[in-house]
Amino acid sequence: MPFISKILEYKSLSIVGLDKNTGKTVTLNYILKELSKRDVIVGITSIGIDGEGLDQVTKTAKPEIIIYKDMYFTTSEKHYKSKQLVAEIYDVSSYSTALGRLVTGLAKNTGKVLLSGPANTSNLVKVIENNAKLGCNLTIIDGALSRMSLASPSITQATILATGAAYSINLNKLVRRTKFICNLIKIERVDIATFNILKKIGTGIWIINKNESLEKLNINSVFALFLSQNKSYLDKLKNANVLFISGVLNDKLLEFLRIQEYIKELIIVVKDFTKIFVSEKVYKSFNNVGGKLRVLYNTKLIAVTFNPTSPEGYTMDSKKTRKVLSENINLPVYDVKDIDV
């Protein structure tokens, strides 16, 4: 059974898709089926309005999620009522989503459920905590389109990435994009000494100088770095070993740093990969000149799944694509329709 035992090493797992219809739900159903055979208590939810009979964005048919006996699931009141199984209610949230309060139930038999969980990350964290109180060993979160942020290590410890023909049927394009996202997820953690210095910092932009003193730059985000009145801050980077950005890292800063003489001596640190908003091109040229980008916390990328069918009906050669993908990302890639192969 591929990758299931790896999942069990973590308390929380997110499944994110490179795009809609990249086979996230099929992957989830597979994982749930495998987990149901093992002696673990599992909780499942999704982010936002996902798990509709029809996909919210592309209006294509979407598989429902099969919940097995003795699994906990969290979904909105509306979808709880339309569940096709017997379940015992264990919690009702005090807050409400667009589809009503969130209900956490324990499945008394196996059946289908439409999942629609919390719409924001802080409530997602609450669901994970609550599941732990109910005795869950693992909480799985079904992601949604462009909601990579839920794979943030501050929410889930491990991630499975679903990629597929829905993103592009052009093999090169698909491989390049998947590889890029995998590379971001796999960015190395900063060395332990630097980590210990930076871990307590909440907000702002900080530098560690060559004399090892920590200094806070008096600006809120990297966007402000390039305002003319903040020129002096950019000059300070010359004498820095580490630049720590608690917020978002953008293209402009990477482009600027790439052409500086001190680039090889500077380590840029961000909280986690979800804070990196840079294009593939810029990231590549930054790496080529020897730029060093590190994260404070990283997510374990457990596996990549591949859906060879696009919503328009095109089907890619599964075996060939997976081979190319696998060679490029150094991880096994599984076909969602046939994972056991």
């Binding site: 006996k69 009141e77 209610i89 009702v92 196996t110």
Partner: protein, 473 residues
């Protein structure tokens, strides 16, 4: 009677918020989602014995809160209360014969379990009793597990048990599933009907839980803000060390101290004069706020208080909302004045607060308006406070003046105004108002040339510009 009272509050809620009631409500730390509804609908109590009871139970709660032996219990109470949801609608539906769904039944069961636990926890406190909800728990907990969870249990029907057993063997049999749903619906109907018999008790339990939540929050607030228990009197009201909690906190954050004031008054009009920045408006809002707090059953911000109850509180203060409604500040004020006069014709046991009446019009007519208002209030013996800067308010009434700038105050832009002013109120017999506006402007750091010009022109105030033009030449 109760409805009538709540109506007053709904009308006056914006007044209470304007007076700084929002700060008090923010500080009020209620735990349950349920209590919010009740806080927004607090009755304005005019009945003396009800209020006395309310203050006594608050006093008892404060004693219990201060007793360190109880702290573990109060932490448990807070934990329980935080799980109480607002399920009034579900109870109402059941009362009206509607069928509750699983989420509603789950919520009712949880509430009943919490009430039962609260009941035992606070039994020895002897503050409040809750109705017995054991029959409700019996209905919703057929397996007697006492776990806060719910579904249509197999124990409700042997038919359902058999069907579910079949269903678990035959996955995805939609006909079979449909059959179980039909039986479940039948059971929900029966459960709802059974619960209907207990709906009055459930409603009462909700009222009591919310009341208890607010009571504990109120008592904690009294400790936190140093509030005192008011003594209810008939005519006289008096405060020792009256303070405005919000401003006190604000000053504390800036390392400044608040000067509390003592004040006594009866059922008659009071005129307050005093220098600019002397805290006249603060006196007005604090008095009105305290009256509201008292009649909502809260402790008041003073070290000692004796308060006469009123039937209604009316304000006439600057309100930015008027501009939005297309009224000039004078027009809005006059409409307000008219409301007040109409009210005085109906009831004389009301409390009126007017901040700088007719300040936006010419002084000659302004004075006449203030005099007329004072006379109207005097004729009816209306408990009221009016602040003014006008001289020649000759209608005889009680006059209070903010003491004002301390002796030996150096007038310069570097002097701290707060430290130079004595905010206490003194009886005043004259008819003139203090003249220290230019000094205050100077201390505020207004342009020196401008201040000099003002001082020079002050000399020609009572003559005319011909004389002034002559000296200029």
């Amino acid at each position: 009677m109760k409805n009538n009272n709540s109506k007053i509050l709904t009308l006056k809620k914006s007044d209470f918020i304007k007076l700084g009631g929002s700060y008090i409500m923010e500080q009020l730390d209620v735990k349950s989602a349920l209590a919010n509804y009740y806080i927004n609908n607090l009755p304005f109590i005019v009945d003396c014995s009800t209020l006395k009871k309310e203050f006594n139970i608050t006093e008892r709660t404060i004693e219990l809160l201060k007793d360190k032996n109880n702290s573990a219990t109060f932490i448990k109470i807070a934990g329980l209360l935080s799980h109480v949801l607002d399920i009034r609608e579900s109870i109402n539906n059941i009362q009206n014969g509607l069928v509750a769904d699983d989420v509603e039944l789950f919520n009712i069961k949880c509430t009943a379990l919490i009430v039962e636990e609260l009941s035992t926890l606070i039994k020895d406190f002897k503050l409040i009793t809750f109705p017995n909800l054991a029959p409700v728990i019996d209905i919703l907990d057929p397996e007697k597990t006492h776990v806060p969870s719910f579904y249509i249990y197999n124990a409700y029907s042997s038919e359902l048990r058999a069907l579910r057993k079949k269903l678990s063997k035959a996955e995805n049999d939609s006909d079979l599933f449909q059959e179980t749903i039909e039986i479940e619906d039948k059971i929900r109907k029966e459960l709802s009907a059974k619960l209907k018999a207990h709906s009055t008790n459930l409603q009462l339990a909700l009222d009591r839980v919310a009341y208890f939540d607010i009571l504990v929050a109120k008592a904690s607030l009294a400790i936190k803000l140093n509030l005192c228990k008011p003594v209810i009197s008939y005519i006289k009201t008096s405060y020792t060390n009256l303070f405005n909690p919000e401003i006190k906190e604000l000053l504390k954050q800036r390392n400044k101290t608040y000067q509390p004031i003592d004040i006594k008054f009866e059922k008659s009009p009071n005129l307050i004069t005093g220098i600019n920045m002397g805290g006249k408006s603060v006196v007005l809002t604090t008095l009105a706020l305290s009256q509201y707090l008292c009649q909502f059953g809260f402790y008041v911000p003073a070290s000692k208080a004796q308060i006469a109850l009123v039937d209604n509180i009316m304000l006439c203060m600057e309100d930015k909302q008027n501009y939005l409604e297309g009224l000039s500040s004078f027009a809005a004020e006059m409409k307000n004045v008219n409301n007040i006069i109409n009210e005085t014709k109906k009831n004389d046991n009301i409390f009126i607060f007017i901040d700088e009446l007719a300040r936006t019009t010419n002084p000659t007519e302004g004075k006449a308006i203030v005099n007329a208002m004072l006379e109207t209030l005097k004729e009816k013996n209306i408990r009221s406070f009016i602040t003014t800067h006008y001289d020649d308010i000759f209608i005889k009434c009680r006059r209070l003046r903010v003491k004002g700038l301390k002796e030996n105050t150096v007038i310069s832009a570097n002097t701290s105004i707060e430290k130079s002013i004595d905010y206490s109120l003194i009886e005043d017999n004259g008819t003139s108002s203090p003249r220290e506006a230019i000094k205050i402007a100077e201390m505020l750091g207004v342009d020196k040339g401008f201040i000099e010009k003002t001082k020079y022109l002050l000399k020609y105030n009572n003559t005319n510009n011909i004389q002034y033009e002559r000296t200029k030449k």
